[in-house]
């Protein structure tokens, strides 16, 4: 029985002779929300690309239920893991529903058309992301936040148990940042999705994650529950900046400078 156990084993990767990741190992906790944090160019996005078959590691491997993902076909992997990338592109005249329907691609067969199960998943994914009312709208007419939700719905339609998100809040205003992160949390709670995401905002990482992994210079600096991991020393090591860490109502937070 597949339980979607994801293990990163001693991954190293260099780009153009420059080492980006040096022997990174960790296990993604199944059914939890894990967030990667770290300074720009510390290897967060690269790690996410290596874990989603977009890049091949120079050394080490990524194991999904004990199998090296290098040996899993792209299509089979897409049924187990869905990814929402930071940069998205799509024709402006593509409707939200058509985009979400792309999520069924890994389940599609050339011989039969869209099945009832496909239609059900598409409708469900749009409902889960709260975009049913804009299903017929072309992407060009959406706000950045709605667009992001549409791409998340596409990923949900894949029916995968693993969800990767690369900086899902970067281009959004505060309302959609919160809405997106709440949705992710809710999906995790309701469906038991295992979530691995990259975030820039430390406070968002604290509030919305079960586990935080701090990267520095291509290595894991620290990992654990946000309250234990986010310390003044850890932040200084990652960002080179002395930031105060406050505690408030049993939860740590970092006041912006």
């Amino acid at each position: 029985m597949a339980n979607n156990r994801l293990i990163v084993e001693n991954i190293s990767f260099s780009y153009g002779g420059r080492p980006v990741l040096r022997g990174v190992s960790f296990e993604v906790k199944t059914g939890k929300v894990t967030t990667l944090i770290g300074a720009n160019a510390c290897g967060k996005t690269t790690l996410l690309l290596l874990m989603t078959k977009n890049l091949k590691p120079d050394g080490g491997r990524v194991l999904l239920d004990g199998r090296d993902i290098a040996g899993i076909r792209l299509r089979d992997f897409a049924r187990k893991a869905a990814v929402v990338h930071q940069k998205t592109a799509a024709p402006d005249d593509l409707s939200v529903e058509k985009l979400v329907a792309y999520g069924r691609t890994p389940h599609a067969s050339a011989l039969r058309g869209r099945t009832a199960a496909d239609r059900e998943m598409i409708a469900w994914a749009m409902k889960a992301a709260g975009i049913t009312d804009i299903a017929a709208q072309p992407l060009g007419a959406l706000s950045g936040g709605q667009r992001q939700l549409a791409f998340i719905a596409m990923a949900l339609a894949q029916g995968a148990k693993l969800l990767f998100l690369d900086e899902p809040t970067t281009f959004l205003d505060i309302r959609y940042q919160v809405e997106t992160l709440r949705l992710i949390r809710e999906l995790n709670a309701r469906l038991g999705l295992t979530v691995l995401m990259v975030l820039h905002d430390i406070n968002q990482a604290i509030v919305y994650s079960d586990e935080v992994i701090g990267l520095k210079d291509g290595s894991v600096l620290t990992r654990g529950a946000p309250g234990e991991v986010i310390t003044e020393d850890a932040l200084f090591a990652m960002y080179g900046l002395r930031l105060p860490v406050r505690e408030d109502g049993g939860r740590v937070w970092v006041p912006p400078v």
Binding site: L49, T52, K53, N54, R73, L74, R75, D76, F77, A78, R79, A81, A82, V83, H85, K87, T88, A89, A90, P91, D92, D93, L94, K98, Y102, G103, T105, P106, P138, G140, F151, A155, Q158
Partner: protein, 330 residues
Amino acid sequence: MKVLPQKIPLLWRRSLACAVLGLLTFGLFFTALKSGSLSVTWDELRRGLFVAYDPRVAAIYDLRFPRVVVALLAGGMLALSGLFLQAALRNPLADPGIIGIAGGAAFAASLAGALFPMLYFSKPIFAFMGGMLAFLLIYRLAWKGSLDPVRIILVGVAVSAVFTGLSAALFGPAIAAPGSGLIQRSWSDARQLALCAAGGIPAALLLAPVCDFMALEDRTARGLGINADLARGLISVVAVILAAAATAIIGTVGFLALIAPHMARRIVGSDHRILTPFTLLLGAFILLAADTLGRVIAAPVEIPAAVLMNVVGGPFFIILLRKGGRIGKQ
């Protein structure tokens, strides 16, 4: 990209557009057969083709008919090639003529004509190799971690210039044309082109749904289980086959491959399942219209379709470039 207002339901608009274009092409086909220096009436044409022998209609059948067929096929194939290159390179300005694929194909086809004049079908095969060489050169030279849309055009223009120069140096100053455009195309030409079309067009229609994924980021496509690199390679090869075959028979025709897909997108939207057949038909229509117009407006002098396409296509390209601020940022 803006599409026509959404007032008319998409399905209706698409069906209507296909029906209208189909009828127009059908009408144009017979108009093209009928008009020119050797003129016949509709009735004479009908009788000569289907009822009894008529020497004038027979001459039209031998001389004008293959030309019309070649124009339709080559126009459709060039337009499809442009559509596929634009999808594969994610670049709305890609056109086999502008980026040198047609130049490479034309040069190689001329070379085949000079080296193996008797070898049937050597021209399309050489043209494909020349086109592929040009494409790989452009791809390699424009690649800097990712494909920069503007770099593709700049490198393509340079590659195009090199092949046009080589053609001129080896085969005389005539603008790289293995044949002389559409003038004097024979049934042999039509058959060669039809053979290529029989392979290239069904392949294009089969690949059409995959083209939609090229409009997403490669990472997103991969996340959906699509091998983006393989898909891009296949789409590109089909585009080169189509452009090379057309170029081998009628020489270089610029801008058609740029204009037809853009017009088609405006009319039927960007879904390649509909866009691909529509672009095919639109390209066929435009090239035949240009050729027919060129034959009649200044008769007895003929204005080559390629010249007309340049006159119309040049300004069109400039308009696209001016709108291109967005393109560079994608």
